[in-house]
Symmetry: C2
Subunit: 215 residues, 2 copies
DNA sequence: ACCTGAACACCGTTCAAGT
DNA sequence: ACCTGAACACCGTTCAAGT
């Protein structure tokens, strides 16, 4: 025996190791040579299980998002939508490289499941059938799109040991902008300093939900 | 004389040529060797004007988005927001590589100007000062995030000569999903087939605006 | 100060040769 | 059928040498 299973080369094993590498060193760190080294094989061997780097990246992103669709089971439609959105946010936050890996709406299994689940909640909210796609799309696209944006921000700020310091610095920048050209941005500098990314993300979901309710 | 100006190597000229190359061959087509060839110089020369490839990409994206913030001047707050969102959509649609080039919220000049303009409209809508940042961020983040998503879809579908055929194919796929697991997606297959990307994008903006109005 | 372009240290992917 | 790893055709970036 000797755990032969976990040593065997397989698509799942490759994806698993790829996620590890991506979490550790980001998208740039994922090379077939390094993967091959970890898997004790040659780079060419990987091509028997994944088509190319792009497909591997997509598979890794899908794997990381699989559980998002089952969040908030048994809760009210509104809370379920918030729970799913939170799960998507958390998954992207924990694996920021997923953000870069644009998962176009429901083109991959994990996001298709999210889309379906959102569709169910929207319908339970009383949205007429003809308006389902518009509402479900707005919510799902917001989750992926804005989730990605947050990941990009997080990656850019990765060097900063102190997130608060980074926010304060940007806030000060805003406060010192030209008063004639940027009055509103100056006005928002304080709110920007004190905001929480996840709350802000969910506030946007709430606005869309309020818009759906107001129809 | 002999149009010495346009031959001189400069940051602006490099960005200009980069945009051309990106429009023609996408992000993968942008190499310093090719840029140097077009500009009749060596690849090393470019580093006297741009720090690296990433900075060049960011500068190109910013240049393409500069005019978005001035859209919808003189219109009602609601229409101005829609006009700005439409301009952002069109810019990303015309230069899909901008999508990949995640422009984190108001970190770059062009998006800062968009954010400011959105902030002004939101305030004109009667949103109290304390809620300005939440509303303006939701709108701006949606524009960038979902605009990116659309660009990714457009790039993925690039090979298709016929967008209608691609939509029909995906719609059929949805309609043939398992009825127990994907009832809502099946229900939305028809609406998905007939939807227009730009309209759907603006419908999302409308939902957020309705949510803001409903407070 | 700016340009040149060879050189460095890598890539993803392919493919003949092996098992 | 699957693996191996050298080889191919590239990259971004640096830097000594020029102007």
């Amino acid at each position: 025996m000797r755990q032969r299973r976990s040593d065997a080369l397989s698509r799942e094993r490759i994806v698993e190791v790829a996620i590890d590498v991506l979490d550790r060193d980001g998208e740039a760190g994922l090379t077939f040579r390094r993967l091959a080294l970890t898997l004790k094989t040659g780079p060419g061997a990987l091509y028997h299980h994944v088509a190319n780097r792009e497909e591997l990246l997509a598979a890794a992103a899908d794997a990381v998002l699989t559980t998002a669709s089952i969040a908030g089971a048994g809760e009210s439609p509104r809370d379920a939508v918030r729970a799913i959105a939170g799960a998507v946010f958390d998954a992207i936050d924990a694996h920021p490289w997923v953000g870069r890996q644009l998962v176009p709406a429901p083109a991959q299994p994990a996001m298709l499941a999210v889309f379906e689940r959102i569709g169910q909640q929207v319908r339970a909210l009383g949205v007429p059938d003809a308006a389902l796609f518009t509402s479900a799309s707005a919510l799902t696209n917001y989750m992926i799109g804005v989730g990605e944006l947050n990941a990009a921000n997080a990656l850019a700020a990765q060097g900063d040991t102190d997130r608060t310091a980074a926010l304060t610095q940007m806030s000060d920048q805003w406060a010192n902008l030209d008063a004639h050209a940027y009055p509103m941005t100056r006005l928002m500098a304080g709110q920007m300093r004190d905001h929480d990314d996840r709350e802000q993300f969910l506030d946007g979901i709430d606005l869309i939900l309020a818009g759906i309710a107001a129809r």
